[in-house]
C-alpha cells in the first residue's frame, strides 16, 4: 500500500511540476534526476532494493494500457462505476431476468432455472413478429424519408434564399416539441371526421381515410408524423455539411458542364456521406424511441392495430400483462437492434480515427 501511496504522490508531483517526463510514457525514465531541483526518485534513494510486486504490477498495467493509467484512475473510476452499475449492470440483470420465467405476482425472479424459453416463445408469437417487422419498417422508412426531406430542405435553404434563418428555425421547431404534444397535433390532424388531412384530400374528391384506424395505413401515418418532426434536424445536419463544402466545388462542376441536378448528384451529395451517417444513426435511435409518440397517440399501452412496435409490445407485456420475463426478452431483442445500428457506426468512426 505504501508503494501505491508513493506512486500517487509522485503522480501529483509530476503534474504539479513541468517535468519533462510527463507524457513520454517511458517507465525506464523513473530513475532520472529531476530537472527542477535534484530530487531523485525512490529506486535510486534505496539502492539495491528490488521493485515490489505492486510496483511491477503497476508497471505492467502502465505498459499495456498506457502511462498514467493508474494515476488517472481517480478521475475516470467514479463515472465508470456509475455507468457500469446503472446502465450496463441493468442490461445484464435484465438479460438474466429474461432467462427466468418471472411473471404475475411472484415476489422475485427465480434464478435457479435459466433457459431461453422466453426467446422461443417470442419467435412463436405472431404479435412479436409483427411488432419486430413494424419496428424495422419504421426504422428504415422513417430514417430514409427524413434524410431525403432534410436533404432537399437543406439544399433549398443553402441556395442563398431570403429569410434563410427564419426558415431554418421554422423547420427545426417541431423537433423541440415533446412527442406528447406532436402526437396530440397529429391525432387532431388525422381525425376521421374533421381532421385537416381528410379535409385537404376531400378537396380533391378523395377520402375520407381512416388514417389511424386502417391497419395498412396507420404505420405510414405515424412514420409521416415522425418525419415531419425530425426532418428539421436532418436539415440542420445537412446544412452544416453543405456549408463545409467550398463554393469552388459548385463552380468547378458548373464550369465542367454539369447541370444543377448533376452537380448536386455527382459532386455535392457524395460529399455529405459523413453528415448522412451521423444523422441516420441519431434518427434510428429516435425511431426506436417512437414509444412515447405511440403511447401519447392513444393514451395507453395498446397502439392502433398495425402500428405495434417492439417498444410498445415490451412495455405492454411487462406492465400490463405482468409477463416480466417475456418483456425483458423483448427488451434484449430491442437492445440488440440498437447495438446493430450503433455498432457499425462506432466502428466506422473508429476506423476514421474520430474516436
Amino acid at each position: 500500500m505504501s508503494n501505491f501511496y508513493q506512486r500517487v504522490r509522485r503522480a501529483i508531483n509530476l503534474s504539479a511540476s513541468d517535468d519533462q517526463r510527463v507524457g513520454d510514457g517511458d517507465e525506464g525514465g523513473r530513475d532520472a534526476v529531476r530537472t527542477d531541483g535534484g530530487v531523485v526518485s525512490e529506486d535510486s534513494r534505496n539502492p539495491g532494493s528490488e521493485p515490489g510486486v505492486l510496483d511491477r504490477l503497476a508497471a505492467g498495467i502502465d505498459g499495456r494500457l498506457g502511462s498514467d493509467f493508474l494515476e488517472s484512475s481517480i478521475f475516470w473510476i467514479p463515472p465508470f462505476l456509475l455507468m457500469g452499475l446503472f446502465v450496463y449492470g441493468a442490461v445484464i440483470w435484465n438479460f438474466l431476468i429474461s432467462l427466468t420465467d418471472y411473471q404475475r405476482f411472484a415476489n422475485a425472479p427465480d434464478y435457479s432455472n435459466l433457459d431461453f424459453e422466453m426467446y422461443t416463445r417470442a419467435l412463436a408469437d405472431s404479435g412479436f413478429i409483427d411488432a419486430a417487422v413494424n419496428t424495422f419498417i419504421l426504422l428504415v422508412a422513417f430514417t430514409a424519408g427524413t434524410l431525403a426531406v432534410g436533404l432537399i430542405l437543406a439544399i433549398l435553404i443553402d441556395r442563398g434564399i431570403r429569410f434563410e434563418n427564419s426558415f431554418r428555425t421554422i423547420y427545426l421547431l417541431p423537433m423541440s416539441l415533446s412527442f406528447v404534444v406532436t402526437a396530440q397535433f397529429w391525432l387532431w390532424i388525422y381525425n376521421f371526421n374533421n381532421g385537416i388531412a381528410n379535409r385537404v384530400i376531400g378537396v380533391f374528391g378523395l377520402g375520407p381515410i381512416s388514417w389511424l384506424g386502417d391497419q395498412n395505413i396507420v404505420l405510414w401515418a405515424v412514420i409521416f408524423a415522425l418525419m415531419w418532426q425530425f426532418s428539421g434536424y436532418a436539415m440542420v445536419v445537412y446544412l452544416a455539411g453543405l456549408r463545409a463544402i467550398p463554393d469552388e466545388h459548385y463552380e468547378a462542376a458548373k464550369v465542367d458542364g454539369a447541370s444543377t441536378l448533376k452537380m448536386y448528384w455527382r459532386v455535392i451529395i457524395p460529399q455529405l456521406k459523413g453528415a448522412t451517417i451521423s444523422a441516420a444513426v441519431v434518427l434510428m435511435v429516435f425511431g426506436m424511441k417512437a414509444f412515447d409518440f405511440l403511447y401519447s397517440l392513444v393514451g395507453g399501452y395498446r397502439p392502433p392495430n398495425g402500428a405495434d412496435i417492439l417498444a410498445t409490445k415490451m412495455v405492454r407485456e411487462a406492465y400490463a400483462n405482468l409477463n416480466w420475463a417475456y418483456g425483458a426478452a423483448i427488451a434484449i431483442v430491442l437492445f440488440a437492434m440498437a447495438l446493430g445500428v450503433i455498432g457499425p457506426y462506432l466502428v466506422y468512426e473508429f476506423r476514421r480515427n474520430n474516436l
Partner: protein
Amino acid sequence: MATLELDSITKTFQDGDDEIVAVDDISMSIDDGEFLVVVGPSGCGKSTTLRMIAGLETITSGTISLGDRVINDVPSQERDIAMVFQSYALYPHMTVRQNMSFGLEESTDLPDDEISRMVSETADLLDIPSLLDRKPSDLSGGQQQRVALGRAIVRDPEVFLMDEPLSNLDAKLRAQMRTELQRLQDDLGVTTVYVTHDQTEAMTMGDRIAILDGGELQQIATPLECYHEPANQFVASFLGEPSMNFFDVTLEGDRLVGDAFEYPVGAEIRDDVGDVTDLVLGIRPESVELVEAAGGDHDFEMTVDVVEPMGDENTLYLQFDPDADSEGAATLVATTDGLTPVSSGEAVVARIPEEAIHLFDRNTGEALHNRSMEEAAQQIDLS
C-alpha cells in the same frame, strides 16, 4: 479556339443602398492562342472579371463575346471554357481519373473508352499517370495542382481561365510550374486568361499583361512595355521589385525642384511635360548608378542608411541629408552589384541618369515622360 472580346464590362454589387463598382468599364481583346495575364492588387476586380468570363458572376453592363458568339447570357455549362481554381477545387470523393473525366462526361457525348483515352493522354502530358487511381487527399500540393491543370486541359476548351493557380505552392515549385505552364500553353495554343497578384508571374508568363486597379484597366501591353513605358504612376509602382522611387517635384524653369534636391532637365523632357508644373519624378532602383565622384548636375552626394544584401545584388537605401532622421527623410532606393562592398553610414555619390527618369502628372498620375524602350534596351546591351 477563338478570340475573347470584353467590351465595356462593368460589374456593380449592391451593398445596402450603396453601389460598389467592382469592375469599371473594362474593354480588352484576347487573341486566339494568346496568354493574357491580368494582374493587380487584391480587390482590384481581376477575379471578378475572370468570373464574369467564366459565367460565375452576372455582367452588369457590357458584352463578352467568344469568337462571334456573345456569351453574356450563356450559362457557364455551355461556354466551353475550363477554369483552374486557386484552391484547385478537386472533388475529394473522386479519384484523379474520375476528377479528370467528370468534365468530359458532363459536357460531351463521348463514349467511355474515348474519354478514358483522352484522360490517360492528358495524364501522360502532365506526367501524372501514376496518380490516376489516387484520391486528391493523398496528393501533395504540387500534384493536386497538376491534376487541376489536367482537369482543365483534358476538356480541350476554347479558353482556359486560371485564378491564381500557383499561389498555394512553395516558391521553388511555383517557379518550376511557371515555366511548365508556359510551355504547356505554347504547345496547346489555347487562349488563356491568367489572374495573379504576383508580378513575377505577370512579367514572365504573359504575352501581354493587363494591369487593373480599383476596377479600372490601367494598361494592357507586353510586359516590357508596361515596365519601361508605364501608362501611369500606379503601373510604374506596381511592377518592379524593389519598386520605383518617386519624388514630388515642381518644374521651375529648366529644373525640377524637390524637397531634398534640384534636378536640371533637358529641353526634350520639358517638351513632353508641357505646361504641367506639379510633377512626380520616378527612377527605377536599378537605373541609379554609384559613381566615384560628383561630376555633374545629376550626381548627388548621399549617405547609405540601410544595406540589404540579396546575394546577386545589394539594395541600398540612400539619404540626401545625412542628419535627417530616417523616418521622414527623402530616401532613394538603389540596387547595385552584389559584389560591390558598401556599408551602412558610408558616403556615396549616386547618379540619376536623365535618360532613365520618368515624369508623372502629380494630379492625374498619368505618365508624361517615359524612358524609351530603345534606350532601355541599349543600356542592357552595354552592361
